[in-house]
Amino acid sequence: MPLPLPIFVLVSVIKSALILFILLTAVAYTVWLERKVVGHMQNRWGPTRVGPFGLLQPAADGIKFLFKEDLTPPHVYRPLFLAAPLIAVVFALTSIAVIPFGNSFEIFGYTIPLQITDVNIGLLFILGVTSVGVYGVALAGWSSNNKYSLLGGLRASAQMISYEISLGLSLVGVLIMSGSFSLRAIVESQQGFFWYMVPRWNIFHGQFIGFFCYLMAAYAETNRIPFDLPEAETELVAGYHTEYSAMKFAMFFMAEYANMITVACLATLLFFGGWDGPLFGPTVLRVLLPVVYFAAKIVVFLFVYIWVRGTLPRFRYDQLMSFGWKFLLPLAIANLVVTAIVVAW
């Protein structure tokens, strides 16, 4: 039975606030995880002083960012300089709205899905929001009125446009197999097993190449090593956020990590069966277990992100472009054609 309007509004507000809180906490602890894991990979300890295992380090960092002096250099173009970090962080946080975290559950006779909203163009919504998010980085680079920032902003916009094509095409294979843009429907199409043991997730269902393309393109879209040329600190000081300090800098940081989490969510939903996993026990456990599976898969993806960062060097700019256009794009198209032929068979 559908919710009456007042209750619907109430439930939506509660869900949005809760998910935003969880997302921001996750962003903070992804930073902690990154520092910890990269530290261990480089034979260091990472943060250890603030709290047990340095677990309170994100809180300390947040306080530090809030109290630092917020410098605005005199030569910047002020309106856009102030708007750019906002654009970056708002669009990074918006895309979480259509991501489902688990099955729906019933309470007082109402069915409540574990998702802010289920739209039937969910995937397109996320692609749209990420494509608009480029403006944050591009405008930051331009409005800073600094050559390093400008180069970073230019690189970011060129790189994001180039890799967005491969990103979109790598997802079409999954769309052909599930026949829907709704993320919930895509997850539901991956239920079940092959030969009673291998789960029917898209990655085991012929979409391995699609997943590879998606992962590469997504690393480029989120400006992460080995594709972090927009902020390549050895060449461009800090790229597009060279002139930013205090909370404005922290907003770019938050946007980057929120984007990482969105990418991990999408990879889980599209290729790894979302919240799919063995269910058992009482009703409460049956509602909570999928969320736990979903979170666990996301943590694995975040770990891979950090692992890659600790392992690979940065690409050169021409290598980045030729990899994107001459290798990744044809591969994604080939994957799409083969998938279409097999499905049509």
Binding site: N120, L127, G128, V132, S157
Partner: protein, 174 residues
């Protein structure tokens, strides 16, 4: 009665018109480009109200996301500066503004009364991805493919025009 649909329609329309006016009024190209992005986004909102959610999403991805990023990219790359406003001739104000008003009223009247089509009700268009796909890849496959070939030709033409004459000469000699 003001329904939620109508309120949203008017709000998006207001953003759209304000963005368009701002696009003309701004002197700096990047502000104009950003106003155009606001217009595109507001248009996507209007499409969404009509029930054409796929078109709305594509509007954001293609226009606001890809094409306008290229505009902004070019402005950034050329480092285009502030432009000077001309004083504006009196003819433009005396004839242009009333002419524009009369023109748009006429256009609205023709569309509403003479075109033989009813105004589309809010949320009435079959705009879900499945219907659009059926239309594009089944009912109108040939026009769709011909259009894409046309665009391809345009792109190739642009590449030829943009490449240096010496390079073409070199290719001919080979």
């Amino acid at each position: 009665m003001l329904s939620l649909h109508l309120i949203l329609f008017l709000a998006f329309g207001a953003v759209c018109v304000a963005g368009a006016v701002n696009l003309l009024a701004q002197t700096h190209p990047i502000n104009s480009a950003l106003s155009l992005i606001a217009v595109m986004a507001a248009l996507a909102g209007e499409y969404l109200l009509l029930g054409a959610e796929f078109v709305a999403a594509v509007q954001v991805i293609v226009y606001a996301g890809a094409i306008m990023v290229l505009f902004v990219f070019t402005i950034m790359l050329l480092n285009a500066g502030v432009e000077e406003h001309t004083k504006g001739s009196r003819v433009a104000i005396v004839i242009g503004v009333p002419g524009l008003l009369i023109g748009s009223v006429l256009l609205a009247w023709v569309v509403l009364h003479r075109s033989g089509t009813e105004a589309v009700a809010m949320g009435a268009l079959p705009g879900d991805p499945r219907t659009i796909g059926q239309l594009l890849f089944h009912d109108f496959l040939l026009p769709f493919e011909v259009t894409s070939v046309l665009i391809l030709i345009a792109i190739m033409g642009a590449v030829v025009l943009a490449s240096k004459p010496e390079a073409i000469q070199k290719r001919k000699e080979h």
